[in-house]
Amino acid sequence: MSVGLTPTEQVILNMGPQHPSTHGVLRLRLTLDGEVVVGCDPVIGYLHRGMEKIAENRTYAQFIPYTDRLDYISSASNNEAFVLAVERIAGIEAPPRAQYLRVILLELNRIASHLVFVATFANDLAATTAFLYGFREREVIMDLFEMWTGARLTQSWIRIGGVGSDIPEGFEKKAHEFCRMLGPRLDEYDQLLTGNRIFRVRTEGVGVLPPEVGVDYACSGPTLRGSGVGFDLRRAEPYEVYSRLGFDVVTDTACDCMGRYRVRMEEMRQSVHIIEQCLDQLPEGEVQAKVPRALRPSAGEAYGRVESPRGEFACYVVSDGGTSPLRVRLRAPSFYHMAALPEMVRGWKMGDLVAILGSLDIVLGEIDR
């Protein structure tokens, strides 16, 4: 970007760990040429709590509340991945009602997470009002969680062999109400953001992630689907009762920030559809299978993969037959997306960097673990 003979110099800018749009304690070491990003080196680990080490020193059940603190925007998907892996090793199956309830919890978490995405993404682009609208709608979900599980954010309500409790009276009615309310509100977002010309020029064509590159970086979830790859674990490796539920795997061929945003907007509508099906099909019965208090699964290993709102959240559990796992590996989607970030931002401007980072919807809790 040098003008004529004027010599220019590259600047190294340290963005974060305290910065309004790094979505937590992320640090980006940027090399800038004027406004243009020529290099980006994400520095992570500020939130590292040694979760995988903790897991080796806790019983299986005791580790569940810790998993909530990974992707704290949608804690149920972390619970689910861990519980799924443990149940596979131990050969436990949750009763049908519990499986439906899990799906309801997971999908409500997905909507809550996507609402936070829309909110923060809009905020990154300075549309402050959409930020508060997203959180306003999310608050209704939080109230639903509070009513059922007694906690708003870190529910830890998916347990080995079932869920923590059955839904209380009146929950179904309120959930239906929420489902009916959300659709029109999303249409409103479309008017406020999706169609807005300024929003479009800021997101369309920005931060292109070609599908083959996305797969090579092991990106998943809306980030990969926004590049046109229809990879959704709810379809590819159905867990719980997803195989019985009708929904579309949303993809978008735009490969840019707008594509990723649109996928998430549409996924919220699909999630509403899933929740309504679950509420209609919800069978009677127990919500917790018989599980020994001191669970000692036989030696072996299992891989639990869950489609979290961010992508493939997986849990690799190795058991040696004891009460604690021998090894728990937490595979966080944001970690892989973060690795792809430098490639996506190269050549874009500062303002685009914020948009691209926002469009990946990272959560530092699961990146740093």
Partner: protein, 157 residues
Amino acid sequence: MTTPATKRESYLAEVLGGAWSIGKGLAVTLRNALLRPRVTEQYPAQRPKLPPAWRGKMVHKRGEDGRPRCTACMACQKACPTLAIVEIKGDEKKGRERRATAYVWDASRCLFCNQCVEACPFDAIKLGQEYSMVAESREGTRFELSELLEPAEEGEP
């Protein structure tokens, strides 16, 4: 840094379309400003109505005799993922007759995961409605049995 080829609109259509799209956004914000209710909770003045399932400060239940139901069996301590139940002591009686004399729960360690409640064989504890556990020191977040015990019922000695 390639922009996918999109159909280029005419200059004027682009300008007018852009203005129209912003106008739609303005209509949304105006509608919200004039028609939608304010959702903020005025916290200290207005307290949240908590559902019965709320997981807050630990509460020790009393038995019919007014004494704590806790028998100091240590099941909750074993179940706790974070060592939040620091100390449990019982009197000299054995088994079901035993009663807790000391019980220290550290709110700053607690994850409010409910596993202690589920582990309790005597239904002696629950996570209650109290959500404000503010303290000025770490010591202040440790609650003794007397602070955790639910208030005695009316009419009892």
